[in-house]
Every structure is written in C-alpha cells, then in structure tokens.
C-alpha cells in the first residue's frame, strides 16, 4: 500500500474509535478534540467554537490570498442494529480491500482524504495552500446550529470556493460531483378525536382519527407524486440551460437504480432524464411514519383516540422551509381538516445550488477527469439535503461536492465502509483540485 494510504488508515482508525453519535450525545467533545489535533498536525491553527451545539472545529492556515473552505462533520449515525455488523463498528477493520467502521466514509473517511490530500500537496509543492475547515458535530441530527454559526462568523470563514463533505463514484465506477442540495422541513400531523380509546362498535357514530389523518395525507399529493398544496411550487426556480444540459448528460441507469432500490418502478413511470430531473431538481412530500391504534397480531376491536404521521418536505431553490408549514395549514383548512394539527419537528434547511457556470465547477470536473481517467458525472443537485445554504448565502461562494464513496458504502447502515481504491483515487482527485485551484495547473 502506498505510504499515504497507510497514513490515512491510521488517522481514520483514530477517528472511528471515537463513537461520536450525535443523536445520543456520545463522545462529541473527544471527537472535536481529536479532529482539532489532526488539523493542528497538518500545520493549521485549530479552534473549538462553543455555543453552537457540540463544538465546531474550525481550522485555518496555509499561504496565499485565495482560500478554499472544506465543510465536514465528525459526528456519525448510531451504529444500531449492532447485530448486523460483522465487526465492532467503532474499530476500523480492513477486509476485502475496504475499511469498515461507523463513519469510515461518512464523514470521517472524507475528512481524512482531505487531510491526506493536503499533506500530499505540501510534500509535492513545498507549502500548504490557504485552506479553512469547518467540521461540525451535529450534521446527522440536522445541523440545527450551523446556520447561526456561519452567519456569525461569515467574515472569518470567507473563501472563494467550498468543497462539500462527500462524494465518490456511481454504481458503474464513474466519478461524480454535485453543486446543490435540497432543503428539508420535518413536520408531524396529529389528530385526536376522543378523550381515550373507545370500543370500535362506536365507530359507526364517532369519528376515527385514522380516517381523518389518512384523508388529510391523501390530499397532499397525487398518484404521481405531485404536491397538491396551493403555492407549493411558486418559488421553484426554473432550471438553467446548463442545469438541463447536466441532467440530460447523466448516464441512464434507470434499470440499475430500480433494481438497487428494490422497487417495481418509479412514480409516473419516469425514466432517464425525466427520472433524474425529478430526483435531483423537484420538491416533494415524504411520509416517514404513521402510527395509531392496534398493531399487534390478529385483530383488536378498538377505536383509537389519536393518530399521528411524520413527514418531510424536500425543497429546491428557492423554496423556503419556513413557509411550508403555513402553506400546509392553509391547505388542510381549505379541505376541512380543521382537526389536523401541524407540528414543526425541525426548523429545516434551505435548498441551495451553486451556479454551474462558476469556474470552480469546471476545475472540479477537470480534477476528477484527470484523476479517474474518465469524464465525471455532474449532478446539478443531489436528492438529499444538507446545510449548504448558509455557506452559499453568507460567503457568496460556490460549493462542489466530491469524495471517496461508492453506492455500496452502506452509509448510515451496518457494515459502512470505504473501498481503498475509491479512497485512493478520490484523494488524488482532491490533490488535483488543490493544484488546479491554487497553482492553476
């Protein structure tokens, strides 16, 4: 193994050993301290910024006027269900050419790739370029404080470009990059119809909360997935010609995606560019859960007193997560669902997308193409969400995501891993991006 892979494995093992599960508040101080130590080891000045949830690790250093900001996070998802892991999730293990462990990719593996790429840059070119790191500790619980953090420190964070937390290769091994993330807002709908559960024989004269909630949910979208809430689409920014072009150039892997997800087909029968257009650039409402009444074996003749559903809206530029609960409430009122209560579970994240015409997008494409020896796939936007908006908004700089994963990495699941070959080429692509950005060659 190349020297830098040995070094990377050692650093990653140190990080994975800390069970920094933000949902459980575990080992976050220790995780922040370790990240700061590794950044200091690279020759940067690292600080732990308090007052925004778990400590935010901020680091900067290097030479030159132009700065590049890396966004990463040191927290991870819970390791449950533990019994599905073949080895201890908090001990890095190499097996079949891959490094296994919780966070081995998301996002500790990505962070280590950046550290190593910077070390390689310094070895090769004799200096550290001007970089900044924001490594937060609550990305896996929705980054509730990051917007305030970036707003408060916009001046210090200023950079001319941003490298987003993650990326990698697609199912066919093609490198990819992306320039946007959807927004999200998570809500709960609740209906209570009686003081307590009743015998179901009363169901002929007493309202049923499952019926009310089911009817309310059924009113939110049509059979093809289009949201029926008035004004929901009003702020959706039309796609630019470059964005449409990028969507059209995404290799058509409709059938492979269908098989990988284990579904019969896609909403509205979408495939190819239409499928990718929906997946990456259309908003939607998702139903995450619905619970009411009896759920055990056999039957129970109960008329439940209450029902609740959890849902999230995925948003695209320029939709506003703070507007959605109000639109939803008005829609429910207009349909007579005065009895359906809307509760906002999380403040949400705004959608964000960088301008594909920005030169930094071109540099990142070129870096990937040179490192991988093939043309990368450019996603104008990912289907998922993340706290990209405050960076774009306050720093007025573009963000591009690229990294070291692959679709089988089992991010958030048991057996999370990063393949050594992906790590190696992804790191070398980061190195090329540093060279192109800072040296212009």
């Amino acid at each position: 193994m190349d020297g830098f892979l040995q070094e990377a494995k050692g650093l990653l093992a140190e990080l994975v050993a800390l069970p920094t599960v933000s949902a459980e508040g575990r080992a976050l101080e220790a995780g922040a301290a370790k990240v700061a130590e590794l950044l200091e080891g690279l020759g940067l000045r690292a600080e732990l910024h308090e007052g925004y949830g778990p400590p935010v690790v901020y680091a900067e250093g290097g030479e030159g006027e132009k700065a590049l900001l890396f966004y990463n996070h040191y927290d991870v998802q819970p390791a449950d269900p533990l019994e599905l892991w073949e080895t201890d999730p908090f001990r890095l293990v190499e097996r079949n050419g891959a490094w296994y462990g919780r966070g081995a990719l998301d996002d500790k593996g990505e962070l280590v790739a950046r550290l190593v790429a910077l070390r390689l840059f310094r070895e090769r070119h004799g200096f550290l370029p001007r970089v900044k790191f924001v490594v937060e500790g609550e990305e896996e619980v929705g980054s509730p404080h990051l917007e305030a953090y970036v707003r408060d420190r916009a001046e210090a964070l200023r950079a001319q470009a941003i490298v987003w937390e993650a990326g990698g290769v697609d199912a066919k091994g093609r490198p990819f990059l992306y320039a946007g993330l959807k927004g999200i807002v998570a809500l709960e709908l609740r209906v209570r119809t009686a003081a307590s559960d009743l015998h179901s024989s009363y169901g002929v004269v007493v309202e049923n909360p499952i019926y009310r909630l089911a009817a309310a949910l059924a009113s939110l979208r049509d059979a093809e997935g289009r949201v029926l809430i008035p004004s929901f689409y009003d702020r959706v920014r039309p796609l630019t010609p470059l964005e449409r072009e990028a969507l059209a150039e995404i290799p058509d892997e409709t059938e492979a995606l269908r098989a990988a997800l284990g579904v019969r087909g896609f909403l509205g029968g979408a495939e190819g560019p239409e499928l990718y257009g929906r997946l990456f650039t259309e908003p939607c409402v998702n139903l995450n859960g619905f619970h009411a009444g009896y759920g055990g074996p056999g039957s129970k003749t109960v008329l439940p007193a209450e029902a609740f559903a959890k849902l999230d809206f995925r948003l695209v530029p320029d939709q506003d997560p703070e507007e959605v609960p109000g639109l939803l409430r008005r829609h429910l009122e207009a349909h007579g669902f005065h009895d359906v209560e809307v509760v906002v579970l999380e403040k949400g994240e705004r959608p964000a997308r960088s301008d594909l015409a920005h030169p930094f997008v071109g540099l990142a494409r070129r870096a990937l193409e040179e490192a991988f020896g093939q043309k990368p796939v450019l996603y104008p936007n990912m289907a998922g969400s993340g706290p990209m908006h405050p960076f774009l908004h306050h720093l007025k700089a573009p963000a591009v995501g690229l990294g070291v994963g692959y679709p089988g990495s089992r991010v958030h699941g048991p057996g999370e891993h990063v393949r050594v070959q992906d790590f190696e080429r992804g790191t070398l692509a980061l190195l090329r991006l540093l060279e192109l950005y800072f040296l212009g060659r």
Copy 2:
C-alpha cells in the same frame, strides 16, 4: 345483605379467582370444571364438550316441556394494565357497594345472577324449570368454534327462547334489554412498495406505502361515515315498524353519551333517534390501527417499505361477513389499489336480530318493568357484536339480552365491577322472567 347476595358473592369469588384469560390460554380447563361444578350444584346435569376450542360447558335439567337456554361464557379479557387495578383482578373484593374483579360482570357476574335466580325460583316454587346452559370459553377471542358447536348440537340445544349473556341498566338507571347484535369481520390491509426501507430523499420518485394505504382507507367511507364500497348495503334488511318504534322510544341521552365518550360530537351531527338508529342498526367500517415507518421522537428521514392497517366491519342483518372481503377487494381494484393486499384476520360473526314481535320480548320487558318499577328501554340491536346468529339460525328461537351491569362497570378495563344494587335487581328481574315464562304469572 340478603342471603342470596351472600351466596352470589361466594360463587362469584370462586369464579373470579380463576384467571380464565382466553387470549392467553390461561386456566380455561379449571374454569370450565368450576362452572360445571356450580351448575351441578344447582341440580343440573353438566358436561364438558371438547373439540370446539376450550371446553364448552353444557348443562340441562329441570321439569316441563318448554325450555329456556342461557348463553354465557367463562373466559375473560386480559387484566392488563395491571398497575391500574387497585386490587388483584383475580380476587373478588367488595368496595363502595360493588364487587370488583376481572369478570365480576363480564361474564361471571352475569352467569352467577342466573344461577342464583334459578335457585330462588326453586326455593319459591318447589321445582327447577327446564333450562339449558351453553357456557363457552372463547367469547373474548371471537367465539371461533361456537357456530360449529351450535350447528352440531342444534337438536340437544333446542329451546323456545334464549337469554343472552349480559345486560343491565343505562346511565340513568333505566333497565334495558336488547334483541340483536351486529356481525363483524376483521381484516388487515397491507402495502409493500420496496424491498427495504429507503432514505426519504428517494420519495420524490419512489412510491410511498403510507400514501397508498392512506388513499385506500380514505376511499372506504365518506366524511359522515357512510361506506363507499359498492354493494356493501345491498343486503341490509329494512327496519320493521316495531324496530323503528323502539328506536324512537329510546330516551335521548345524546349529550350524556357525547360527554361519556369524550368526543366533540357524532358523525354527521346525528343526535337522538337518528344517532341511535345509526349506532344500533347501521353497518360501518372501523379503522383499528395503522402502522408504518418511524414513530419515535423527532423526525427520521425514512421512506418505509411497507405499511399495514387493521380494520373491522360491523354488519347488520342480513349482511354476510364472508362477502365483505370480496366486496372490499373489488372496490380497491376499481380504484386502482392493485397494490393493497387484503388479509382476513378472523372469519367473523354474522349479524342477528330477534323479531321484536315475539312474545318472549314482551315477557322480558314486563319482567324488567316489574323488578325495577320502571319501563325498560328496548334496544332492537346493540352496537356490539357477538355469536348470537348460530343460536337464532339453528334453534329458530328468539334471544333477548338482560343482566346486571351498568355503563360504569368498566367491562374489559381495569377496575371492572358490578354494583351490588344492580346485581340484586337484575337477579330479581331474571327471577320474574323465569316465573312469567314458566308459570305464566
């Protein structure tokens, strides 16, 4: 306390001490043996009939041509949640003029009232009239074998009238009787859309099982509760003039019922005779439970792979529980819900209603009026279900329900009890019914 109340309390204590929970298969043999012993003690010949689930206790004896059949059951509901009982549910306790314990009313208290009424009859008139008892051990789990039992033994069970398992006084202390029970069939609807749960960011292109199931459930009824399944009402027998008259004579306790149930109002704003008409003589679909995806605190961005709902249909004469699943399937198909699977959870019970013009109904009314000193309320039908149909169908005899409970008895709940005053007057009403039926005076 009168001698017969002391005797009743002793018998009831013996029965309550046996935790005959059919859902848990507990103490059913012992319960059957104890019931047989008590019936033998009365001078009847008792037998335990095997091959129909827990033993059916059958007893007969007494003098005369004309027979009266009592239907009761010795099994009870589980005592959970135990922590809400002030005393051990399986030890009879007298407190504040009431007897507390699981089954103190349903149905052990009712059974004891009948034993005591028969003993009083014999003491007063010097002989035991010709009676039969069918006391089953799985009423609380839907009486799955009783239809076959009654069919197989129709000749032996033959009687000219049947006294159903339970009854009592209403919230205002008025005695009541009833002549019918609804039928029921319990089903589950299931939807699976993917091989496993997915990240909710795929919700913009992948079908959501909660949406599918919610839309399917919303299609089953309208906002007022009317079932929208074609042909569902086809077999509903029109009410007779006597049934309509009985409904109209039910004292209007709309507001008291509303308050007792803890609801804002009734479906379609029904009240008075309209409310009672719906409650007692209209069929409906009930949603007992709906479960899918995440139900914990906060949000989780999951797209569940499956969803299920449990429902029961309450049926009125002459609807057929075996027909309902097919009607439901056709309805779902017609609405495009090919992906919604229909699973029958329980074979169901047929609806049954005795002819209100039958003289036995008049005798029961008169017995109650004389024992209570006030006109009883005649419900043509109850809102609940029970295995009355095989008796009416195979024995060609009417069934009337009357007994010793009151609406606060907490049947099936913690703190189940029977008030001693209700027990006393209910038992004396049974005694009067025996006299009117067997002696004609």
